[in-house]
């Protein structure tokens, strides 16, 4: 377990998390960023890097990736640390009031925690199927980490997107039998993949069931079969060792929801004086917070970061008096 000691730990390395490093740095507070994604930039880099943004002050137009690149340049003097590709699982307080943040591989001790998690983490979307949750890990899997586990097994895949097609094709030579169940009768995914699936179905190598939905899972200690309801209301049972529902990803708060923070409609409630949460030393800025009049704009997140840093100063330097300084007068300090 890697151990890191810093002044401020920032969860989320999107534009607002990155700019928080700058605002903290001006006050000589060191930052460490953690993001579940393997690169910085959050949704800007991951989802729409080439999209133009028009409401960043001073930039009539700037691409999402360019904004992230410039923010990285802007915070460079403050030498932030990065833990990428890891998700924060737990947050606890120490007797001296410092905060311990843990991922599966890293422990970070900090004086203040800033949640700049944006949309949250993307988690597999779970269909409404009887006993689905109960059988998770007992035959139900939302992602396939080790395909060998499925060798010579009966596998049922549900979904109509690219990943359902791709996995059905990939697993056909490995599994004893692959059944692909789709609620529609066509696939809009990559035409080549759809064509291959239809051809394998015709040759009897994939069991393709269209216009049908899985409504229940059966089995005690482990999944044994799935119940399938067809469009004509016919109910059938298909033997299954594994069921893999592939219905895309959806943004969720994830473990953040379990840290004792006040949450309203999947967003963290904050005090607009300094964007602090109901827990001492924990702040939430950017798209993940909520307050009366909240606008999910990058520029609002930048403002929130500035006020947060002024407030967090008292935790990092309890004996020092905070004096507000303009960069035009004092320039940029660096570490």
């Amino acid at each position: 377990m890697l151990e890191i000691n810093t002044d401020i730990c920032i969860v989320g390395a999107g534009p607002v998390g990155l700019f928080a490093v700058f605002e903290a740095g001006l006050l000589k507070m060191r930052c460490h960023l953690i993001d579940v994604l393997t690169q910085v930039g959050g949704q800007l880099t991951e989802i729409y890097p080439q999209k133009p943004i028009y409401d960043i002050p001073g930039y009539p137009e700037i691409s999402a990736q360019e904004l992230i690149d410039k923010l990285m340049k802007q915070i460079k003097p403050f030498q932030p640390g990065f833990t990428l590709g890891e998700r924060v699982e737990t947050v606890t307080s120490e007797p001296d009031s410092s905060i311990i943040v843990k991922t599966n591989n890293t422990t970070i001790k900090c004086q203040a925690l800033v949640i700049a998690g944006g949309l949250g983490c993307f988690e597999p979307r779970k269909p409404n199927i009887d006993r689905l949750i109960e059988l998770e890990g007992k035959g139900v899997a939302y992602m396939i980490k080790d395909p060998e586990m499925l060798r010579d097994k009966e596998v049922v895949i549900a979904g109509g997107g690219d990943s359902a097609l791709d996995w059905a094709l990939f697993l056909t030579p490995i599994a004893a039998k692959v059944t692909l169940i789709h609620r529609g009768d066509t696939f809009r995914g990559v035409p080549d993949s759809a064509e291959k699936v239809f051809r394998l179905a015709k040759d009897g190598k994939i069991n393709l069931i269209l216009q049908s939905n899985i409504i229940a899972l059966n089995g005690d200690e482990h999944l044994q079969s799935v119940s399938v309801l067809a469009g004509n209301n016919a109910l059938t049972t298909i033997p299954a060792d594994y069921f893999i529902p592939l219905f895309g990803l959806s943004p969720k708060l994830g473990p953040i929801a379990k840290w004792g923070l006040d949450i309203d409609k999947s967003a963290i409630e904050v005090n607009t004086v300094d964007f602090s949460t109901n827990i001492d030393r924990i702040y939430a800025i950017g798209d993940i917070n909520t307050y009366p009049g909240k606008l999910k704009l990058i520029l609002c997140g930048f403002h929130e970061a500035a006020l947060m840093a002024q407030s967090a100063f008292k935790y990092v330097y309890p004996d020092k008096k905070l004096s507000f300084k303009y960069t035009t007068v004092y320039g940029i300090p660096s570490f």
Binding site: L119, G120, G160, S163, R183, P245, L246, S250, P251, K265
Partner: protein, 105 residues
């Protein structure tokens, strides 16, 4: 001004009067009308929490673009009458349409 009927999860129908020049999506209108829609992604067809069923008037809507279609393809409970409200910009053709709120957390 157009009238759109919204059916909530309890089946209750409410008529909304909407100016056609507001340049908002149906998702933004539903949020402004205090329907409990998360709209986590802010309108980029990424979270599907604003999913609606078109009860009446589907033929008056433009077909879904690629990002909306990609999402509708993978949603477990979507069907031929499903759309994402964030991708439907309010226009006068929508007068008299009926939508049922279908999005989940």
């Amino acid at each position: 001004m157009i009238e759109i009927t919204i059916e909530d999860s309890t089946g209750k129908q409410t008529i909304l009067d909407i100016p056609t020049d507001i340049n908002l999506s149906l998702m933004e209108v539903l949020k402004a009308a205090d329907y409990a829609i998360l709209a986590t992604c802010g309108g980029i067809a990424l979270c599907a929490t604003c999913c609606v069923q078109v009860v009446k008037g589907m033929e008056r809507l433009l077909p879904p673009n690629n990002s909306e279609m990609d999402m509708l393809d993978v949603l477990p409970n979507a069907n031929q009458s499903s759309r994402l409200a964030c991708q439907l910009r309010i226009n006068k053709e929508m007068d008299g349409m009926i939508f049922r709120i279908a999005g989940k957390d």
